[in-house]
Symmetry: C2
Subunit: 340 residues, 2 copies
């Protein structure tokens, strides 16, 4: 993070990734990324996002340098102020001397743009600050699920020396569960006057929240929102059983000009980090995350191998035997699998 | 098909299938089914539908006896008269001395009932006729896709000595493509005054139809519907390229009392059967169907093995290595696969 290159990694990344059929010098890219070169970070994320042929080489080269970053998930319904909160957190973390990565998952469109455009402009507060990497990721499908590339992009930022990586996503559909499975600490943002939203999301947010943040806490109804959350917690109690962490409720007023309460959120995040460490829960979560990822990759690889089988002579022969009654489809499938 | 047991196989089947954890004497069931015992046929279909542990044994026992049935698919938009047409076809086939199986795929509900209830009552015309097996199958999801068990149920009816198996499904979503992949001959039913439906379904029905049936041909607009179909065919021409079969257009008036035109449909089906045989296209279709089925079973088996891996010591070790940076998820996935 020593040079002065631009750090808004969105713009230069996309065209490079698409152009990039030429040979990639992965070791050099990783080395430069670790030195803080934003272009190399962007390039690496593009490589993993495009499922480039170099993907495996990139993953292998990153591995020894990962594990250092604290991963913070930020989720909440549209309108609660997620991006102003992200910006405020980034500002506070930078003031504390931390290197920060931001992955903003845009659920509105696979082609970026859309609802998050305004956010991105605001994010540019940090452009020019070489201690911040900001990257928008396309989401998977209309429910806003995280892209399969998100864990890989996270790993790039981790290896690049980020102390903290913030993953911001709209809390709709399955994305809030996915973010929780990626993050060490998940912040759930709510805002006063969105009581219906809380009710609707109830089950989901109670399960994923490590820290609740009532944003726009200067508005009418903030007290009621805090009471609602406390009441929901009293009904749930899942977290307390899981190991004595009761998600605290913070209040913030995050905007362009004021960051009231953001330091309190950082304190709770730090408290949670210490709790994760002392109880072993942090290690458990990361292992679980890695196991899921390995499984997903393995299943995708199997599916690919099945694709190779389609139209093969072996499958044709077996199909012919099934048609003739010489074997049944189950035995034929066993036979096929034994040849993979 | 010699005894006089009830042949409406829906009712007795379901409870038996659910009860049935007790050991199943598959060879005896298959033998009885081949003798025409409706209860045994029903039981076998329940076993494959419930993915019973005996599924593989059933499939293996059926294999030598399959391949004899001619499979006819019947599809069309709601309201074109699919079930009256099915009933009329069954009646005509019975008069010709054929043994007939019917698989009615109910897209409205996984618990049967719903929209097809009326149809099923009408089907009871044939209850008591030991040369007809009728079975409702649940569909997969709201798009009305065929249940994965449909090919297995088809195989049961085939092995039970049916000369013809009719598969009836509503032509919405993907079911019309799926029925075409199962059937030797696919009938697409349309009715006058449903021009919009034809337009909407255009691409789909042109591709799957081997025979078009304009039902309710006594209504205004029947001529226009035939012209519409001819025009669409003139635009498409896919079938003629594929091997000189131009889907004929029949007219019927199928109702409880009259079966006008149904014999004409049977003639066209027979013509198509001869064409399938003489060109080798029939064999090609069946092989393709078997290949798809083998693939699907193999993929499901792989997924199951992955499930066994979840929580296993091997996966946990690998996940720990990923967390520690000792390996990356891709290498770990390779390692995991090598152990399957």
């Amino acid at each position: 993070m020593t040079d002065g290159t631009a750090v808004q990694t969105d713009a230069p990344a996309a065209p490079r990734g698409r152009r990039g059929r030429r040979a990639v010098d992965v070791p050099t890219l990783v080395e430069r990324a670790r030195e803080g070169d934003a272009r190399s970070v962007a390039r690496l994320i593009s490589l993993v996002e495009d499922a480039s042929p170099a993907l495996r080489e990139v993953a292998a080269a990153l591995a020894p340098h990962t594990g250092g970053a604290q991963v913070i998930g930020l989720t909440g319904a549209p309108g609660v102020g997620k991006s102003t909160s992200t910006t405020a957190l980034v500002r506070a973390l930078r003031q504390a001397g931390k290197r920060v990565g931001v992955l903003a998952v845009d659920p509105s469109s696979p082609f970026s743009g859309g609802a998050l455009l305004g956010d991105r402009v605001r994010m540019q507060d940090h452009a020019g600050d070489s201690g911040v990497f900001i990257r928008s990721m396309a989401s998977r499908g209309h429910l806003g699920g995280l892209s399969w590339a998100t864990p890989q992009a996270l790993r790039v930022l981790d290896a690049a020396g980020c102390d903290v990586v913030l993953i911001e996503t709209v809390g709709v559909g399955q994305s809030e569960l996915e973010i929780a499975s990626l993050a060490d600490t998940t912040l759930v943002l709510v805002a006063p006057g969105m009581g219906d939203g809380i009710q609707a999301a109830k089950a989901g947010i109670l399960e994923v929240a490590d820290v609740f943040v009532v944003n726009k806490a200067d508005r009418d109804g903030a007290d009621q929102t805090v009471r609602d959350l406390r009441y929901m917690q009293s009904l749930g109690g899942r977290h307390s059983e899981a190991g004595n962490w009761r998600p605290p409720i913070c209040r913030t007023v995050a905007s362009r000009d004021t960051d009231n309460g953001v330091d309190g959120v950082l304190e709770k995040i730090e408290e949670h980090r210490r709790w994760l460490e002392s109880t072993g829960e942090g290690r458990r979560r990361r292992s679980e995350r890695a196991a899921r990822e390995i499984e997903a990759i393995a299943l995708a690889a199997l599916r690919e191998r099945m694709g190779d089988v389609r139209g093969s002579a072996a499958l044709e022969t077996l199909a012919g035997q099934v048609v003739d009654g010489g074997t049944d489809p189950y035995r034929a499938a066993d036979e096929l699998l034994s040849r993979l």
